[in-house]
Symmetry: D4
Subunit: 133 residues, 8 copies
């Protein structure tokens, strides 16, 4: 059972910490918990994402599989608020919001963003919340 | 604020789904929510981890930075229970449990595991829970 | 008072564990917590159901009384999501969704499913949630 | 995820409703929500158990498998309180409290009671609460 | 701050325990936690009401002031469900549901019931929940 | 199920509102929500108590039965804090703290206070919290 | 993460405690927790505000920056209830309710009140609750 | 009732935003939610503190009354963690941690910090949590 007391934490590469801060903090609105010379820790929708400085990260065309991360919202309003933020602040979109697996139990809306280091972020909302896992 | 209603989700590569199932389900004890031909979705300590079949994932010596993931426990007992599970079930350890940043506010205990595809999992417990972010 | 910390657990017979896994996991969408040679443990809507291998369970026409189990949902939307799942995935229905005790305080909607061992599962939603007990 | 809003419900046979009321209400301390001619509904540790009048239920030596039910407590103190109640009120015990699977991750304390219709009730407490499912 | 862990308890007189049980349990739907020779304890909407046998309680025309008790519901739906129960089960009404202090901040809907010992029960719902205290 | 959203409310007589305010607010520490000419409303441990001016309330020796009210604390520390407050502020005690029903499941500690209008307040803590109802 | 267990507390000057009590208690409806000769402590929407007697506080035209305080409501209904209270009880308004930063992610409704010592209180509701911080 | 959904917000002057950021973010560990040219918004222990640029704020010897703010912790461990942080990171202390009102119901531990603009922050822990208001 997910609780409000533990936190998921994810460490990802960032070619440039200022760019990462711009994307996650200024654009996505994630509070910056700590900043060191080699990393930034973020309150990412209640969990922790750490951007580690990795300037040598190769520049390649990002692919959604097998590696991406994000939040599955329980409430549709939270997904819609994020969508509005993305449009207003012109956050880089990798794949526009769309319905997936329509007509099945797994039906969900999905939106994929792209950070400056080409990490992909997927945000989802399932019609049936039991499918969140 | 992290709530019990949303879920973090993380997609990672798995060279072999049976191996992944063995590690995450049989050893770590994460319930298997769904299994498809090309992926397994897991209830990973209340969040979602998806192992995508990626047999071509190169075999390299894993490094902790810049990419790893895990759970930061609010209660020490939860960390200790995981440690006991790792010992009893002989889950592959990349870095044994140790104290880090001792004597600072960021002081925490950390344990790093290694899954069959060489993804690294870090579990943490902070002395001061405000440092979880 | 029911809390989110304890769990109800129910052990039931299964003539065949693969059939049981198909019904509870693939169809009903209950994550599989553990699987042993002689049983499967399931996260059944947040509680625990264990299917024990009992191949000798006699085949008889199931009756709703005196033995059945299920979930009483607090929110109608959760009942409706289950109903949609049952229709899409063609889960075996013993008694279609219907209103019961209409016009009384105990009025509720009920749906009865049938697992491969002929255990009956009743899902309910009461108009007045005080009648859940 | 188990929540405090839904309820598990279980229907079981009772050869005699007065005997059932004595066991579940007077001895185990479960509040009686409703009583009809043919059944009693109980608030069983926050979930619902319904005893249906079934006088023809055959009298056989009860077996723990494949059919029993109960509560898995998250806190040891709740298990101990139940144990104390069982001793003071002399509730019929089928299997005394004992440790099971000692030294494994699944280690837990278990106590099995026997109701007047020979339904078996198992109460458990796991050392590692992740094993509750 | 009211929490879900403590309980308010109120002891009131009952001229006859069977009559009290009929009113609180059969009609109002409050589970009976315990019954002794001289009192009944009830789970009254999550708090405890105890009816003490007091056959000598004088029969007088009940007055709403200064003594009555009840529940102030946070959600209107809960008030409406109770109103529906009162109508269907013909629970004795002392004062029909009506709006009080209309147009003020303290505006609320109120319903007053009368138990067999002439204790008065007031159920309320405030338009502005801050006025519940 | 008791929730944090609804409130129990109890109306009691007060011979004098200043005296009542002194007892409930100054001594017991209950915040005063509202004061009118003829009543005071109090946040009584999270529920609502209203003291209605009733100067004609007869002066008689108070008896604990059949009428009293109070809080049953889930945590012993809360009972002990109240006990400490009563001693330091010299709140009028009707019956000193004592253990009741020792050795039974219903064993609890109880303390009875007396307000200036001779209403009796009982505060309790049960060894086994299931006995709170 | 804000929890329901800790409390923010703010101490502010009051030229006159009776005036302060009138504004915060009678008008805004904040329960008075304690009153001493030199201060009043208030349950201010669940947090604590303490008005300290400071008769020498200079009378100047209040400015919104850099000093003010208030509540950011998560639910619009709570903001609207406060607005209704302000209108009915004619609470002194410094700046009427208005939309701010319309069309941006930070869009919110804001209302500024003025207490008798010219402290300014701002109440807000954000369209996107992630902007509350 | 304080809930986890609303937030207290407090606006205070800052002579210099970098200094304010150093104190609140680097030293006290409050995540920075937003930074504009004229202000910083902070997640201050779950509530919001906004530092508004006010270079003209007069430099005077700070006094604790009538104006200060802070958090009253429900758990002693949270107070102690803050104390440890203050010592390790050498956060400027205005008044060292000490016991106040010893032997009374209002007994609490208090610590006062001083930010670079001479705003005073008081952190408290009460022996009896009912005194938090």
């Amino acid at each position: 059972m997910r609780t409000g007391r533990d936190a998921f934490h994810l460490a990802i590469p960032a070619r440039d910490l200022d760019e990462a801060a711009h994307f996650y903090w200024r654009q996505l609105g994630c509070p910056v918990a700590r900043r060191y010379e080699d990393r930034i820790t973020l309150d990412f929708f209640g969990d922790q994402v750490v951007c580690h400085l990795a300037p040598e990260t190769p520049v390649t065309e990002p692919r959604l599989y097998p590696r991406h991360f994000g939040i599955t919202f329980r409430e549709r309003a939270d997904f819609d608020n994020l969508l509005r933020l993305v449009e207003i602040r012109k956050v880089p979109v990798f794949q526009a919001a769309r319905l997936r697996f329509e007509g099945t139990v797994e039906e969900h809306t999905t939106l994929v963003l792209r950070d400056p280091t080409d990490n992909l972020l997927e945000f989802k909302h399932y019609r049936d919340p039991r499918m969140m896992y």
